[in-house]
C-alpha cells in the first residue's frame, strides 16, 4: 500500500514536470526580466535536480501540503476538503443505486440464463456501457428537468436554501435530516437524484454484468446441487447459498466501482454544475492551475488505495476462509 502511494506520487510529480506549463513563468508573468525569472525559479526549487525536487514534493504531500491554488488563492487541501463531500454524496447514492439494483438484476439474469430477463439485463448493461455519461446527463436534464419538471436542475441546492443547515457531515441531505429541516432535504435530494441516478445506472450496468458472471460460476458448483438435494427452495439455493459465495468476489467489484464513480464524477459534475471534486478539477485544468489538478489526482488515487484497504478488511466478514489468514 505504501508502495502504491509512492508510485502514485511519482507519476503525478513527473506529469507535473513534463507538461508544458512553467510554474515560474506563471508566477512572474511573461514581461518579467530574465533575472527575476531565474530568482523565482530558484526560490521554488525548479533549478534543483529532479530527484531532490521529488523528495521535497513528497515531503510536502505527506504533510498535506499540495501547494496553493492559483484561482482560489487557498491551499489546495482546504479547497479539496470543502468540495469533496459533495462528490462523496453523489457517489454514495450512485453506488447505492448501482448495488441495490445491479446485484439482484445480475442474479435474476443468471438464473434465467438465455431467457427474457437475461436479455433485458444484457440490453440495459450494453446501453449503460456504451452511452457517454455527459450525453445521458444532458438528455436527463432535458427530459426530467426541462420538460417534465420532476427534479431540480443543475447545482446542489437552490440559492434560497443555501447555508440553511449547519455542516456536520458535509453531505447536504444528511445534514438537513440531522437538522430536521425537511424543505432543505427535499430540495437537496431533488437536485441530487438525477445525477446520482445517471452515475448509478452506469455502475448498475457494470455490477449486474459481473454479478451474472459470478453467479453462473457458482450455480455450476456441487454445493448448489447438494442444497437442492436437501429439498431447499429455489429461492434459498440461489439467494442464500450461491449469492453468499458471490459476495466474496463482488466486494472488490463494488469497491472499484465506487472508485470509478469518484473519478467519473468529473464529467457528470460538469454537466450538472455539481460543486464537487470533479468540477473543481475540471476548472483547475482549464485554468492551468497545476497544483490543484495534481492535488485532485493524488486525492482520487488515495481514495482508490483506501477502497482497496476497505475491501480487504471486508473479505473476512463474508468468507470464513479469509479469517484465518489475518
Amino acid at each position: 500500500m505504501v508502495l502504491t502511494f509512492l508510485g502514485l506520487t511519482v507519476v503525478t510529480f513527473f506529469i507535473g514536470r513534463v507538461i508544458p506549463i512553467d510554474p515560474a513563468l506563471a508566477i512572474v508573468g511573461s514581461k518579467a526580466s530574465n533575472e527575476t525569472y531565474e530568482r523565482v525559479r530558484a526560490e521554488i526549487g525548479l533549478d534543483l535536480p529532479l530527484p531532490v525536487q521529488y523528495w521535497r514534493y513528497l515531503a510536502k504531500v505527506l504533510h498535506g501540503d499540495f501547494g496553493t491554488s492559483v484561482i482560489t488563492s487557498q491551499p489546495v487541501l482546504t479547497d479539496m476538503l470543502s468540495v469533496f463531500p459533495a462528490t462523496l454524496e453523489l457517489a454514495l447514492l450512485a453506488l447505492l443505486i448501482g448495488a441495490v439494483g445491479g446485484v439482484p438484476l445480475g442474479v435474476v439474469a443468471a438464473t434465467h440464463r438465455g431467457r427474457w430477463p437475461d436479455h433485458l439485463t444484457r440490453l440495459l448493461s450494453l446501453f449503460g456501457y456504451s452511452m457517454p455519461v455527459f450525453w445521458l446527463g444532458l438528455v436527463g436534464l432535458l427530459l426530467f428537468y426541462a420538460k417534465l419538471g420532476w427534479v431540480e436542475g443543475p447545482g446542489r441546492i437552490d440559492v434560497g436554501y443555501e447555508d440553511m443547515v449547519p455542516t456536520v457531515t458535509g453531505l447536504l441531505t444528511v445534514d438537513a435530516l440531522l437538522d430536521g429541516d425537511y424543505d432543505v432535504f427535499r430540495n437537496a435530494l431533488s437536485h441530487l437524484v438525477l445525477p446520482a441516478s445517471i452515475l448509478g445506472y452506469l455502475s448498475l450496468a457494470y455490477v449486474a454484468r459481473m454479478t451474472r458472471g459470478f453467479m453462473l460460476g457458482q450455480l455450476r458448483q456441487e454445493y448448489v446441487l447438494a442444497a437442492k438435494a436437501k429439498g431447499l427452495s429455489q429461492w434459498r439455493v440461489v439467494w442464500v447459498h450461491a449469492l453468499g459465495n458471490v459476495w466474496v468476489q463482488l466486494i472488490t467489484v463494488i469497491a472499484l466501482t465506487f472508485g470509478s464513480l469518484l473519478e467519473g464524477a468529473v464529467l457528470t459534475e460538469t454537466v450538472f454544475s455539481w460543486p464537487g471534486l470533479g468540477l473543481y478539477m475540471k476548472n483547475s485544468l482549464f485554468n492551468a492551475d497545476l497544483n490543484a489538478v495534481l492535488g485532485g489526482t493524488v486525492m482520487v488515487g488515495v481514495a482508490y488505495i483506501l477502497l482497496n484497504l476497505i475491501s480487504d478488511l471486508l473479505y473476512p466478514l463474508v468468507d470464513p476462509r479469509a479469517r484465518e489468514r489475518t
Binding site: 456441487e222 446441487l225 436437501k230 429439498g231 431447499l232 453468499g244 466474496v248 468468507d319
Partner: protein, 279 residues
Amino acid sequence: MSTLLTVRNLWVTHPGDQGDFVAVRNVSFSLGRERLGIVGESGSGKSTTGRAIMGLVGALGRVQAEELRLGETDLLALSERGFRKLRGRRVAMVLQDPKYALNPVMSIGHQIAETHRAHMRAGSRAARLAALKMLEAVRIRDPERVYGLYPHQVSGGMGQRAMIAMMLIAEPELLIADEPTSALDATIQTQVLAILDELVRVRGMGLMLISHNLHLVSAFCDRVLVMYAGRVVEACDSGRLHQAQHPYTRGLLAALPELGHRRDILPQLQRDPAWAAGA
C-alpha cells in the same frame, strides 16, 4: 419386503448441439429396504439414473419411463414443488467430494440444521439440537465444536460424515450415495462406509450405492447392477457376481488385480458395440 422404488424402462435424454444425447436407456430395477450397488465406468449413466429419481437432471434434461415410483408417489407426474418436498425428506443424496459439495461460506452445523428446518415443523433451537444429535450419530466426537466449523476447517472424512448427517437428518427412506468414498483416503473409506451401513440398517432405509469400484460394491451391497453406455447389462446378487454372464462384467472381473497373483500385464477390457445396442 416392501418395494421402495420402482424403475421401469427409464430413459434420460439431454438435448445437445449435435442431436440428443441419451444418458440412460431402458433401465429397469426395483429397490426395497436393501443395499443396491450400481457400477459402471464414467459416462455409463449411473449418476444420471440417481439424479433422475430426485428430479435433478437439469432444466433441459428429459426423463421418460413407463414407471418411476417412490413408494406410492408417481415421480413422473410430480411437479418441481412436489420434488422439493420429497428431496431430503424421502430421498436424499450424498455426493462425491465434501470439498465441493458443502457450501464453503456456511458453517457445517448450519448446513445440517438447514435440512431439518426445510422439512420438519420445528424452530431453530430444535433444528440445532437435531443437528448435534446427527453429528453424534455419524460418530463425530465433540459435535458442539464441529457444529461451528466451516468446511475448509475439517478433513475429507469428517466432511463426508457431515454430508451424510446433512442428508439423513430429515430421515429419508432412500439414500442415493454417488461415489461417497471415492474422494477419501483408503483407510477413511472403510470408516465412512461402516457409518453409512449402520445408519441405513438401523433406520431401515434403502440405499443406492453408485460407484466405479466393483470390489467395494460387491462387498458392501446386497445386489449389483452393472451399467454400460446407459444400459443395465447385468443384474445379480453380489454373492453371485463371480458367476456373471455378461462379457462386460466378466471383463471387469478379469481386470481386477489380485493379491498374491502377480501379473505383469492386466488384461485389456474388450468392448463390443453390440452391448450398447442392447444385446
